[in-house]
Symmetry: C2
Subunit: 593 residues, 2 copies
Amino acid sequence: MGNNYNYECPHPVAIPPAKPFIESIKSGIEETLFPDDPFRQFKNQPASRKLILGLQYFVPVLEWAPRYTFEFFKADLIAGITIASLAVPQGISYASLANLPPIIGLYSSFVPPLVYAMLGSSKDLAVGTVAVASLLIASMLGKEVNPNENPKLYLQLALTATFFAGIFQAALGFLRLGFIVDFLSHATIVGFMGGAATVVCLQQLKGILGGDGKVVSWAVVFSSSSFSQDTLARESQASFWISAMAPLTSVVVASVLVYLTRAEQDGIQIIGQLKKGLNPPSVSELAFGSPHLMAAVKTGIITGVIALAEGVAVGRSFSMFKNYHIDGNKGDDCFRDDEYCRLLHLLLSDHRTIFANCVVLSSIIIAAMLGLIDYEAAIGLWKVDKCDFIVCISSYIGVVFGSVEIGLVIAVAISLLRMLMSVARPRTFLLGNIPNSMIYRSIDQYPIADNVPGVLILQIDAPLYFANANYLRERISRWIYEEEEKLKSTGGSSLQYVILDLSAVGSIDTSGISMLEEVKKNIDRRDLRLVLANPRSEVIKKLEKSKFMESIGREWIYLTVGEAVAACNFMLHTSKSNNPVTDTGEFDAHDNV
Amino acid sequence: MGNNYNYECPHPVAIPPAKPFIESIKSGIEETLFPDDPFRQFKNQPASRKLILGLQYFVPVLEWAPRYTFEFFKADLIAGITIASLAVPQGISYASLANLPPIIGLYSSFVPPLVYAMLGSSKDLAVGTVAVASLLIASMLGKEVNPNENPKLYLQLALTATFFAGIFQAALGFLRLGFIVDFLSHATIVGFMGGAATVVCLQQLKGILGGDGKVVSWAVVFSSSSFSQDTLARESQASFWISAMAPLTSVVVASVLVYLTRAEQDGIQIIGQLKKGLNPPSVSELAFGSPHLMAAVKTGIITGVIALAEGVAVGRSFSMFKNYHIDGNKGDDCFRDDEYCRLLHLLLSDHRTIFANCVVLSSIIIAAMLGLIDYEAAIGLWKVDKCDFIVCISSYIGVVFGSVEIGLVIAVAISLLRMLMSVARPRTFLLGNIPNSMIYRSIDQYPIADNVPGVLILQIDAPLYFANANYLRERISRWIYEEEEKLKSTGGSSLQYVILDLSAVGSIDTSGISMLEEVKKNIDRRDLRLVLANPRSEVIKKLEKSKFMESIGREWIYLTVGEAVAACNFMLHTSKSNNPVTDTGEFDAHDNV
């Protein structure tokens, strides 16, 4: 049964010209690493302009400094004062979370922002001390060195770790590999943060309950007050000034209270006196020679990735209100916005800072951590996507009962497995005709769609790769078997054509091609005819190179399922009444994909 | 700009009813592990029949024994005699390849086929001694124990390894996990085999060149003769009897030659006398207590997987001529065929056997190995699919310069990475209208396709997952940016609508949904309108659950790009001339996917 009736295919399938190997490689790399085309503003500019743009690209301060007005300065001043009053105690508390001396926390709460102000481009990235990073340092280095027995070595390792975290992040940005944080899905991060927070809470609770009653009460007082302010602040932008004032006030109140009640004598920890002058640079402290170097490097890299992922996630969750987007490489934002963003954002997204001025470290940490356990997000995941929920929960459980690495590995592994399975076990759909149209859609989704007598239409839902070739061969032959059984039982007209809709098949490899060859042989053996619909450019190119095109015959490849079915029906009728019909007008304009 | 003109969508997008969680899990598992629906023949059968079918399923001999005729027996007798004359020396030579005593090779060349005859179902699976498996045993156990210094322990470990290989393969079959061999793509196996073969050749060459001249000459003689027979045998099915007779003849000739020339005195190894009686069962030899147990287990598992993959690959490469297919779980075949298959197959696919009767072990092995280096396949890979070629070459290099594990890991890693990248960096296509139709296709593939003024039509080519959410947001906003730039420069009509064609988006996760939300906000900010075309059932379900449906508005989701464009044009015109047009007849029957 050949296509020997002069039926004209209304819209032939095009085979795009094969690109040179090098060129396709180049475009592939561009598409993969530079989706945002970061250098588009450099295109066809004079060299001098290019230089300026280049400097601005790497040192954004040069870009916005000229446009910096007194209005901006006023806003930033208030923001700065407020944040300082928040960041200082937060720094101290997170330093203790990382088992490091308070002074370290103080420095890390104002040095990084200074640097970021020069080099950073995003007004949404919260720079400073981060609870999870501190926790990671403590838990990972704590295994190597006991911070209480050997504080000096521990400090050196911590500094080394942060050094490598920086190197690693810089490398990611420079190599445009920021996208690896994409592999930490939102679900993973929610679960991970929650898990980390739970661990810290349990640790700290032990501490508090071990201590005397006062500490607990203090904790309660500050937490509650803080949460009320917090919710207040979340209400709306209207309550902006309240939340901006609240921390300043409570700084003062708390300090006075502690001073009057001599709380330190009742076992409340206070920071005490700090030595004057600037800390000496810590370069000399980097312990490259230490036997624990590898542990430090590992800690640095994991901390770097997590901190980056958290920063990007938090930043994005805020930027979603304002149509920013941040990329892991630089924190680039595509739309400008007013200077209040950063302040408001710190108050809203980062609400642990609101009561960071409480001197009872445990309660700060606990309250902060509780803020990290985002159970609403988890519930949302369950409602919308069960698999994401599983990822979230397993990363939570992994962190709580295992370790941070285990939690991460499990979550990422599950996420990747799901992605792999979507390719390795693609779904195949039986298509039917939507009444009063020549559109063909899955019968599962559109129960109104009708079968076409004598024609089996299957849609394949993934690229044809080695991992799904065997599966698809099995599945397709089962579809055919079942269809023929059904037709036998119902006594319908026998099966004549099998149409494979390749609309969703983006690409194919050699295993996929030999799968198609086997499917064709199988179909030929049953005296059926294989017809392909809408092969995409990658697919049609390879089908041609591999000579499969010849074996199936170009006349059996159609642009749309509609045209394929029209052709099949044409053949069915002409093969019944053996006078070839030449008028194909009925197919040209009305046909569909 | 809302859909406030009474434009009727000709074909609404259906939202399939949500399945219960458990049910969807169940069907998911069935689709994943039982694509061939192995138990379909059990359906609605009486219990007694079910029992029989069940027995036949696990012990296929029960199925074919009743149908076994004298004709079959005659054919099998000839096949058996021929294969025996090939298998015995092959067994000995591969035993030496695995550094095991010859007797082991003799047993392993007839015991496994006996077992498989009872339990196996495929007539295409070559059962017996396999060069690569022997090589793996030698190379992996050789690291642990030196077979020359400590032969007893080495033998015990080898037996233990094979034991675990068996357990592992059985487990794979029982758990329906045979599909893991799918992850060893054809390209991987080609490269792996070639690499393994190269390693052995180099080892053996050292041996030969170390030995005296005669050995080499012998080697040459037998290799050349064998290759001539071999090519002869490959010519066609006509030369079947020639190739069937050849080995028998050369067994006799070679043995006579060796006997007459007293070749053993000239340093040619001969097997010598074998001790009478059956070997005692080796159960007692299993070294579970040995400190090297883990090495044995590892060797067993890797050997098991590779042997399975090779067996399936070789079997399939042959069954492709005859429309069999073999699955890794059992070696099930869907079509019957004549009994000559197995014999012919062993002669064609397994041409090392043709001259296995040469007693110069090195030359047997080398010639056999040379047959494993399938450079033609590698060239074919390069022609059709560069990436598969890279996989093949890297697995080759990994095996030759690293180790078998390294080779495998690299190849599988690259293959999986490619699959992941197809999801993590999906391609986005600009669609245009195919002239004289309402079909929309990629402009890259169909240069004749025309842009639709005021409408940007993008096609996304993968499920929307966490791994590509950021990438796609970037890429889409860049498409919009570039389109607007182009329109500005050409002074064309300004952009009004962005249509996302989701035909190829099989599923979506929560990250994908928030990506769509961000894209919509971005588009709204530019006073454009986001329109979705052909969301599939998984996608539309989740869009509804996540309330994105409401935010975009159901009236902006269309069944086909054609209908979406029609609606956009309708809006454009009515919004220009502000009298709503109610006649939508022009859209109903002509619309497209």
